[in-house]
């Protein structure tokens, strides 16, 4: 038996694992489309006609954040914690797959799936809603931010699942974070600026707050100070990475 390297077959296996979970499909793919359609109807009578297109664009940018949060933070954490509960990663490890190899295969598979979900969401929203045409640099900025956020959420979800190793507490924590992030980052109808001072300070540490609140502002051009957003991305990434490292060290296989 040889150490198994990262290969396409392993990525395909992980893709089948994702597609086999109906909750990921519903909450990661259909739910954001439904939410953006719903919010577009709700705001129709609340926003002046000349601002409607801008508001729709803002909804599009805000609701697309649900995709990585549902697929990675909830979906992946739930899937992986169930695997851990049944010792499936250990079983694969004993067949020669290194933890690192399995982790990369999962990450690639989830990024492929998330890409599909982003594309589907964008296509549906373009067809259904009157979204403003973005400046290329703004669109690229959103895409890059979404992938960076996806990777960070993947790391965070993996860390949480590995620490608890059980579906129940992992699901509870990831759901708590999911709704916490949605409330703090303006996805539940309350903008970051409307939050109490303490919550606002926490929200400013999360990159999703800047994406949902600010990105629509330079969608068709204009200046934007990226420093606070990048700092929040680095902070969120660093915290997630620390959780991942701690979880791996806690569960390391040792041959003395």
């Amino acid at each position: 038996m040889q150490k198994k390297q990262l290969n396409w077959r392993l990525v395909q296996y992980e893709l089948r694992n994702i597609v086999g979970n109906i909750f990921v499909i519903f909450f990661g793919v259909f739910f954001p489309i439904m939410m953006s359609a719903l919010f577009s109807i709700v705001i129709k009578n609340q926003v002046p006609e000349e601002q409607y297109s801008g508001a729709i664009t803002s909804i599009f940018i805000t609701m697309i954040l649900i995709v990585p949060m549902a697929v990675l933070l909830i979906g992946y954490a739930a899937n992986y914690s169930q695997e851990l509960e049944k010792d499936i990663p250990l079983r694969l490890n004993l067949f020669g797959f290194r933890e690192r190899t399995m982790l990369f295969a999962k990450m690639i598979a989830y990024l492929i799936f998330t890409t599909g979900a982003f594309l589907l969401y964008t296509i549906f929203d373009i067809i259904m809603l009157d979204i403003q045409v973005p400046k290329l640099s703004s669109a690229l900025c959103l895409i890059a931010s979404l992938y960076a956020l996806s990777v960070i959420l993947f790391i965070l979800a993996h860390g949480i699942a590995t620490i608890f190793r059980k579906f129940g507490p992992t699901y509870a924590v990831s759901m708590l974070l999911y709704f916490g992030f949605m409330i703090l980052c303006g996805m539940m109808g309350v903008s970051v600026d409307q939050l109490p001072k303490a919550l606002k300070a926490i929200a400013k540490l999360l990159p999703m707050s800047y994406m949902s609140g600010d990105f629509a502002g330079f969608w068709q051009g204009g200046k934007y100070n990226f420093a606070p957003f990048l700092q929040s991305m680095l902070f969120f990434g660093a915290v997630s990475l620390i959780i991942l490292i701690l979880s791996i060290r806690k569960n390391q296989r040792v041959i003395k």
Binding site: M1, Q2, K3, K4, N7, R9, L10, Q12, Y13, R16, N17, V19, G20, N21, E83, K86, D87, I88, L90, R91, L92, L94, F95, G96, F97, R253, V254, I255, K256
Partner: protein, 299 residues
């Protein structure tokens, strides 16, 4: 191949495994690991695999990936057909891999390939992991309760197939089992564990001679047989049996002659692992109690 020395494993404050004398597992050994529930059998397997935090040393020239293992509980993803799981783990295509096809046929597994893992029966689940373990062709293989939960016929067929597969191979096998008759077919060494401690380890035949003599004759435990055998050397045995120790052929002939004359059914064995292990454990406990009494007296 593997040398275990002064190894201790604790779960909280409880000592789960304590190995004081060195245990050496050599190339080509076929080792049966036996003991009651909680004896430390699975803990030993996990410790050798590096899955427990242990004190002491386990020295081996094997890399972790050179040890294949059928764990007591093996689970796989339920989100896809078993075929995809096999192809992923082995990084091969069943269509293109002749050896894998042979193994699938050997274990009558063709009809399971399109099913999900949760749809497989207990025996089919066991066979899946066995196929995945066997095809690795590793120099060292653990089978931890590979037949537990299976009916008698399936157990027999599985063990026969395992025996056939390893017949001409120099693989070191460690087989954890509660079914002694399976071990009698497959192993040449026995490691007996009791409450986390090593009762004895060695060649199966030597252990049998040490604890049982040349042969053992077992008969039904009833008043008539008790009376008939009251002058003979008896061994510890399960409650429903009387086990008679035969130290040489003459005594064996004498006892069997007597039993035939009295028309009593008997079973003769020169490798009964169950009787051997019962007596090894009894001997172990007597020694422990003796040592304790001696220590108390000295104190």
């Amino acid at each position: 191949m593997i040398r275990i020395n002064n190894v201790q494993v604790k779960y909280g404050n409880q000592l789960a495994l304590s190995i004081n004398e060195p245990i050496i597992m050599e190339d080509g050994d076929r080792i049966g690991i036996i003991g009651s529930n909680g004896a430390g059998k699975s803990t030993l397997v996990k410790t050798i695999l590096g899955l427990t935090n242990y004190q002491g040393s386990i020295v081996t020239d094997l890399k972790p990936e050179e040890i294949a293992v059928h764990m007591q509980h093996n689970h796989y993803a339920n989100t896809m057909a078993v075929k995809h799981i096999m192809e992923t783990i082995l990084n091969t295509s069943i269509k293109k891999n002749k050896m894998l096809q042979e193994l699938i046929t050997f274990f009558d597994f063709e009809e399971c390939l399109k099913k999900k893992y949760s749809s497989l029966s207990g025996g089919q689940k066991q066979r899946l992991t066995i196929i995945l373990v066997l095809i690795q062709d590793s120099p060292f293989v653990f089978f931890d309760e590979v037949t537990s939960g299976l009916d008698f016929e399936t157990r027999q067929r599985l063990m026969t197939k395992l025996g056939e597969w390893y017949l001409d191979k120099n693989t070191t096998l460690c087989v954890v089992s509660h079914y002694y008759e399976e071990l009698e077919q497959l192993v040449n060494k026995i490691l007996i564990l009791e409450a986390g401690q090593v009762v004895d380890f060695g060649n199966k035949d030597e252990l049998f001679r040490n604890y049982c003599g040349k042969t053992v004759i077992t008969i039904e435990n009833n008043e008539k047989n008790k009376e008939l055998t009251k002058s003979l050397l008896k061994l510890k045995a399960p409650a429903h049996l009387i086990a008679l120790s035969c130290q040489n052929s003459d005594l064996e002939k004498e006892i069997t002659g007597l039993l035939i004359k009295e028309d009593i059914n008997f079973k003769r064995s020169n490798n009964d692992i169950e009787i051997m292990s019962i007596n090894a454990k009894a001997h172990f406990h007597e020694n422990k109690a003796g040592g304790k009494n001696h220590a108390e007296k000295t104190a």
